[in-house]
């Protein structure tokens, strides 16, 4: 059993295996996860805002796959990067709403990726 990263690649791989006389027992549709990566700047450590945010996003059913914080000094603003994945658009929307709300409440700058 192995995983292929995209639906197109999966279908091509399946066709090639069949052409090559391989016996394909199961060709399952892959889960279409969307990954969202965001940047946050502000007093992240002092307010502990992002720590609880990660838990909230997790609780919504999104998988937080990366969370890194870099604090240059005790008084300055910290920078954080958070990546989460979810299959369901509704979960992504709820997670984004939670993140935006946390940013507003804690005066954090939120950086999104371009569409």
């Amino acid at each position: 059993m192995f995983n292929i990263g995209s639906k197109d690649a999966l279908e091509k791989m399946g066709a090639l295996l069949k052409e090559g006389s391989w016996r394909v027992l199961s060709l399952e549709k892959i889960a279409q996860f969307r990954r969202i990566t965001l940047g946050l700047i502000g007093h992240i450590i002092r307010t502990k805002s992002v720590e609880s945010l990660v838990n909230k996003v997790d609780a919504l059913g999104a998988n937080v796959s990366k969370f890194s914080v870099n604090m240059p000094n005790q008084s300055g603003e910290s920078s954080a990067l958070i990546s989460f994945e979810a299959e369901d658009d509704e979960v992504i929307e709820k997670a984004m709403a939670e993140i935006e709300n946390t940013c507003r409440q804690n005066d954090l700058l939120l950086i999104r990726a371009v569409d």
Partner: protein, 330 residues
């Protein structure tokens, strides 16, 4: 017969334009105005006088100088096209807005590099131009010499732009590029940019995204046919960006750029954004500008070029004038 043009604003763009336009037979410069007054000749100003203006001589030192507001010339002198090159004012767009309205009301063609009136009153000017059968061109207002409007209007006629995104402010792009390349803090790079003349002494116009928002409103209005003011653009500047977030973004194959984005449904935003390395905008560094037009049929088209400068802006103004001369048969 040559297209008679009257130039308002005797600054660097005017000088750059004069150096080129004097060599072209399809144009005759019949007037130049500054904030103190104007010089005018119905049959065209003497080449020797224009050479002096191009070399930096004040127009008040030329023979026939009239000490009256430029609006007097716009309303009373004979010319075919007004070239409005005065300084941008995003508070009330004056005096350029009055100049433009007066020229268009007389059916005079209009070419401008001044963002203010277009960022605040685009649809009013556009309607006035159409009503009076005047040609209205403004390529120099956004992206310097990058032919954004010419591309959208002339080369995508059978297609439709559905959204756009771009880097439309060279100062902020320079600051973000230097912060990333040299791992320098925002304040340090801003000081460096000010010393180099890339940033103003009061940098808020650039770093808070005001200039980018004005340009975005112009592009969105012109391309999507909207009636929006730049104050409707959702805006976030770059002053909180840290070298650490630039590094964290790079670890995930992103660059951070101040991105202007707009779509045909009316959304307009200027904000620092993660740009994946696979996107052409990620590799736009220094003071360069770029814009990606997302089209329905042709997909994304990205245009890149210098966003400011005497010769770049003059090049865009000249292209607009040549277009008008061609259309009116001069």
């Amino acid at each position: 017969m040559a297209l008679r043009i009257f130039i308002l604003g005797a600054g660097t763009v005017c000088k750059g334009l004069l150096k080129t336009i004097m060599q072209r037979s399809e144009f005759s410069v019949c007037g130049v105005a500054s904030s103190s007054g104007y010089v005018y000749s119905k049959d065209g100003l003497q080449k020797a006088d224009l050479e002096k203006v191009a070399a930096g001589k004040k127009i008040s030192e030329l023979p026939g100088f009239v000490q009256k507001p430029a609006l007097d010339a716009v309303q009373n002198c004979e010319y075919d096209a007004l070239v409005e090159l005065t300084t941008t004012n995003l508070k009330d767009a004056e005096p350029a807005f009055s100049h433009m309205k007066a020229a268009l009301a007389r059916g005079k063609h209009l070419v401008t590099s001044n963002k203010g009136p277009l960022a605040l009153h685009f649809s009013e000017l556009d309607s006035l131009a159409k009503k009076n059968k005047a040609l209205f061109r403004f390529e120099a207002t956004v992206g310097g010499a990058i032919p954004i409007f010419a591309t959208a209007n002339n080369y995508l006629k059978g297609d439709r732009v559905v959204s756009l995104k771009g880097i439309l402010n060279g100062t902020t792009n320079y600051i973000l590029s230097r912060m990333f390349d040299e791992k320098m803090r925002y304040d340090t790079v801003l000081k460096e940019a000010q010393q180099l003349g890339i940033a103003e002494r009061d940098p808020s116009y650039d770093v808070e995204g005001i200039d980018a928002a004005a340009k975005l409103a112009i592009v969105a209005n012109a391309i999507f046919g909207k009636n929006s003011s730049f104050s409707e653009v959702k805006r976030t500047g770059i002053s909180r960006i840290t070298p650490e977030i630039l590094e964290l973004a790079a670890s995930q194959n992103y660059r951070i750029k101040l991105i202007c984005s707009a779509s045909s449904d009316g959304k307009m935003e200027v904000a620092p954004r993660f740009v994946p390395l696979s996107d052409p905008l990620a590799s736009i560094n220094g003071t360069l500008n770029a814009i990606t037009l997302e089209t329905k049929m042709a997909g994304p088209l990205t245009l890149v070029g210098k966003g400011a400068g005497e010769s770049e802006t003059a090049s865009a103004v000249l292209a607009d004038l040549i277009d008008i001369a061609g259309r009116v048969g001069k």
